[in-house]
C-alpha cells in the first residue's frame, strides 16, 4: 500500500462514514505490513456496550503507525476485573486502559428515585463511588504500568427538570462536584487522565449521541455513527498521551491566511476584517495563534513577493498573526516541496511532524506525493475554516510544559542566533559569542513532565531513544539505583529552557548511561561535552569505577553516533563504550559556564 494512499485517508477522515471505516479497515488489514508498527494494547473497562470502538479506533491507530489489540471486560464487570489480580484483564497486559463508566449504570437510583434521599445522603453515595474509583485506579496502577483514561460523568436530565437549575445544591451539582474531585485525584497520579465526557457531550449534543432503538434493543446507548465521534475524541487523548503531536503548522497565504490574492488585490483588497468573509480568516488566525501559544511552531510556505507579504504581516490592521509568530518564512517562487524540506531542515524537525495547510488542491496533491508531511486542504467555504483547525486530532497537548508556552519565542531567538552564526568568522568565535550558561539539576516534580516529554520526542541526539512516561521517570528518581538529571541552557539571546536529559544506572561499581539526549535546538553547541564530563565526575564521586555508554541506532539518531568515541571512550566487542573513571579525563566545553 502506498504511503500516499494512507495520507489521503488520513487527511479526509473528517468526511468518513461508518461504511468508509469498515471498508478502509479491510483494506489496511489486507495491505499493510505491520512489522514496523508500534504495539498498543487497549483494555476497555466499561459499563455499556461499545464494542464498535474496536474497529473504528483500530482504523485510526493503524493510520498513526500503531498495531492495536483490544480487550473488553464483560458488560459492567469492570470492578471484578480490576480487583482480581488473576483476571483476564491483567493477563491481557494492557498498555492503555479506557475506563468507560456512566452514571446510568453506576447509580441508577440517582436518576430514577432522586427524591427518595436528601442531598447529604446522596453526597454519601457519591463519596462511596469516589472511594471506589480511587481504589480501582490504585489497583490498576499497582499491577500494571498502563496509562489510564477515565470517562467523567454526565447527567442528561434532572429528576426535577428545569427546577434543578435553580438549586444551589441540586442534582447536577453533585455530579459536577464528583468530576471536580476526580481531577484532584489524577493531578497527583502520573499516567492517569480524564476523558472529559461532560465537555464532549456539551460539544456534540446528547440527542446527537443517544440512540433509543439500539438502547432498548441491545443496551447500546449511543448511535453507532456517534462512536465515530467518540473514537476521534479518544484518539486525541491517545496521541497526546504518547506525545504523537505535530511540531509545526506550515501555511500557505493567499486564500488561506486571508481571502484573495495579495499580489493582485493589494493590501486594502484582501479579505481580512470584521465582515464576511474576512472575519472567517481573522478567526482562523486566532485558532493558529492558539496553537502557537500551546507550543506548536508556525511557518509560511507561499508563492509570493516577499515585500507584499511583509507589508501585510507588519501593517495590515486586522492581522492577528504578525511576523514574529512565524519561525520560518519561505516566501518565494520555488516549488512548495523544496520549501517544506528546507523549513524542516531549518527547524531541525522531521517532515513527518509537519502539517501543511493550503487551499489549492493541485499543490496539496503535489506535496502529498513528494513530502512526508501531512497535507490538509482548506475547506472551500470560508465559514468552515476556523473550526477546521480544531478538527485535527494531532494538535492536542495533554501536558503543556513551560517550554511549550515559550517555544514560539525561543524559535524566534534561534533565527537571530543563526544569523549571528553566519556572520561569525569561525565556529569558535560563534560559540564564544553566545556566552552560554548551562545548568544541571536532578529531577524534581516540576521538571518530570518535561523530562518525560524529552525522552518521548527527541530523535536526533538521542543515544538510546528509550521512551519513558512520567511515571517511569518518577520511579527512576525515587529509586536509589538511578539518577535522573535535566539540563537547561541559556545564551546571550535568551532562554532555551530544559533541553537535555541523562539517566544513570549504578550497578557493580559501574555507572551505565541509560539515557543521554539533547534537544535538536541545541545540537552543535558542545553542551553534550559538558554533560558527559559532569556525568564522569558525578559517577566517580558516587564510587563508580567505570562509565558505560550505549548507542542504539534508531534510524534518526545519526548525529549522536560517534559521540562517545570522540569523547574518548573505548568501544568494546559488545558494541558498548567504556571509560575507566580513574584514568580518563573528559573535557568540559570551554564555551560553557556550568552552573549547578
Amino acid at each position: 500500500m502506498k504511503i500516499n494512499e494512507l495520507k489521503i485517508m488520513k487527511s479526509s477522515l473528517a468526511d468518513f462514514s461508518l461504511t468508509d471505516y469498515f471498508q478502509g479497515l479491510k483494506k489496511l488489514r489486507e495491505k499493510l505490513d505491520l512489522s514496523q508498527f508500534k504495539s498498543i494494547r487497549i483494555a476497555v473497562l466499561r459499563s455499556y456496550t461499545c464494542e464498535i470502538l474496536e474497529p473504528i479506533l483500530s482504523f485510526h491507530l493503524l493510520l498513526e503507525g500503531y498495531k492495536p489489540e483490544f480487550y473488553f471486560c464483560d458488560f459492567n464487570q469492570y470492578s471484578q476485573d480490576v480487583l482480581d489480580v488473576q483476571s483476564k484483564f491483567y493477563q491481557f497486559h494492557p498498555g492503555l486502559v479506557l475506563f468507560l463508566v456512566r452514571i446510568e449504570e453506576l447509580l441508577p437510583p440517582f436518576l430514577w428515585s432522586y427524591s427518595d434521599k436528601k442531598h447529604v445522603e446522596w453526597q454519601d453515595e457519591f463519596e462511596k463511588i469516589y472511594n471506589n474509583y480511587v481504589n480501582l485506579i490504585n489497583k490498576i496502577s499497582e499491577h500494571t504500568s498502563a496509562q489510564i483514561l477515565i470517562q467523567n460523568l454526565y447527567l442528561v436530565s434532572n429528576f426535577f427538570g428545569i427546577q434543578d437549575g435553580q438549586q444551589v445544591n441540586g442534582q447536577k451539582t453533585l455530579v459536577q462536584l464528583f468530576n471536580q474531585r476526580l481531577k484532584e485525584v489524577i493531578v497527583k497520579k502520573k499516567n492517569t487522565f480524564i476523558w472529559d465526557f461532560e465537555g464532549f457531550v456539551a460539544k456534540i449534543g446528547y440527542n446527537a449521541l443517544y440512540d433509543p432503538k439500539m438502547w432498548y434493543v441491545a443496551r447500546n446507548p449511543y448511535k453507532q455513527t456517534a462512536y465515530m465521534d467518540i473514537a476521534r475524541e479518544l484518539l486525541r487523548y491517545v496521541l497526546s498521551i504518547n506525545n504523537q503531536v505535530i511540531k509545526c503548522v506550515v501555511v500557505d497565504l493567499d486564500n488561506t491566511l486571508w481571502g484573495g490574492v495579495i499580489g493582485e488585490d493589494g493590501l486594502n483588497g484582501i479579505a481580512l476584517g470584521q465582515d464576511y468573509p474576512g472575519n472567517c480568516f481573522v478567526d482562523f488566525q486566532k485558532e493558529l495563534l492558539r496553537l502557537y501559544k500551546r507550543g506548536i511552531i508556525l511557518a509560511i510556505n507561499s508563492k509570493n513577493n516577499e515585500a507584499d507579504v511583509f507589508a501585510v504581516l507588519d501593517k495590515h490592521p486586522d492581522m492577528v498573526l504578525r511576523r514574529q509568530h512565524f519561525a520560518v518564512c519561505r516566501i518565494n517562487w520555488e516549488d512548495k516541496v523544496s520549501n517544506l524540506k528546507s523549513i524542516a531542515e531549518e527547524l531541525n524537525i522531521g517532515s513527518d511532524s509537519i502539517v501543511f495547510i493550503d487551499d489549492n488542491s493541485a499543490e496539496c496533491a503535489l506535496v502529498r506525493g513528494q513530502c512526508s508531511c501531512l497535507v490538509m486542504q482548506m475547506p472551500n467555504k470560508p465559514y468552515l475554516i476556523p473550526q477546521f483547525v480544531n478538527s485535527l486530532p494531532w494538535i492536542e497537548k495533554i501536558y503543556v510544559t513551560d517550554e511549550d508556552l515559550k517555544k514560539g519565542v525561543m524559535y524566534q531567538e534561534q533565527l537571530v542566533r543563526k544569523k549571528l552564526e553566519k556572520s561569525c568568522e569561525s565556529l569558535e568565535d560563534f560559540l564564544t559569542s553566545l556566552k552560554m550558561e548551562v545548568q544541571i539539576r536532578e529531577a524534581d516534580n516540576f521538571n518530570i513532565p518535561r523530562i518525560a516529554q524529552l525522552t518521548q520526542k527527541t530523535n536526533q541526539f538521542n543515544m538510546t531513544t528509550r521512551r519513558y512516561q512520567e511515571a517511569d521517570i518518577l520511579n527512576f528518581a525515587n529509586s536509589g539505583q538511578y539518577s535522573v538529571f535535566v539540563v537547561s541552557a541559556r545564551d546571550c539571546f535568551g532562554e532555551h529552557g530544559n533541553i537535555g536529559v541523562f539517566i544513570l544506572k549504578f550497578i557493580d561499581q559501574m555507572s551505565v548511561i541509560d539515557t543521554f539526549l539533547l534537544s535538536c535546538r541545541v545540537i552543535g553547541r558542545t553542551i553534550e561535552e559538558t554533560m558527559l564530563a559532569f556525568i564522569a565526575d558525578f559517577a566517580f564521586k558516587r564510587g563508580a569505577k567505570r562509565l558505560v555508554g550505549e548507542f542504539i541506532a534508531s534510524g534518526k539518531n545519526v548525529p549522536a553516533k560517534n559521540f562517545y568515541l570522540k569523547a574518548g571512550m573505548i568501544e568494546n566487542d559488545d558494541g558498548r563504550f567504556f571509560a575507566d573513571l580513574h584514568t580518563t579525563v573528559f573535557r568540559y566545553s570551554p564555551y560553557i559556564k556550568l552552573m549547578i
Binding site: 461508518l18 479491510k26 464494542e51 474497529p55 432503538k213
Partner: protein
C-alpha cells in the same frame, strides 16, 4: 446493488467474500455475533439512508439470504 450489499456485509464482518452465501447465518459465520449484527444494521442504515425496525433486525439475523431480501425490499429493488 446485490454486490454492494455483500461487499458491505463482508467489510463489517471482515471475512472473505467467498465465505458468504445465502445460507450463511450467525450459526455458521463466527463473526456474525449479536454485537456485529448491530453494527451491520447501522452500516446499512447509514449507507442506504434507511430505517430498520427492531422486528426486522431479528428477522435479518436468520440468514444472509433473509438479510439481503429485507435490505433489497427497503431500497426498492426486489
Amino acid at each position: 446493488m446485490e454486490n454492494k450489499i455483500k461487499e458491505l456485509f463482508v467489510s463489517v464482518l471482515q471475512v472473505p467474500i467467498e465465505e458468504v452465501v445465502d445460507e450463511s447465518s450467525p450459526d455458521n459465520l463466527v463473526s456474525w455475533h449479536s454485537l456485529n449484527h448491530l453494527i451491520l444494521i447501522s452500516v446499512f442504515e447509514e449507507y442506504f439512508a434507511i430505517n430498520i425496525d427492531p422486528d426486522e433486525m431479528t428477522l435479518m439475523q436468520q440468514s444472509f439470504g433473509k438479510f439481503r431480501e429485507i435490505i433489497s425490499k427497503k431500497i426498492g429493488m426486489s
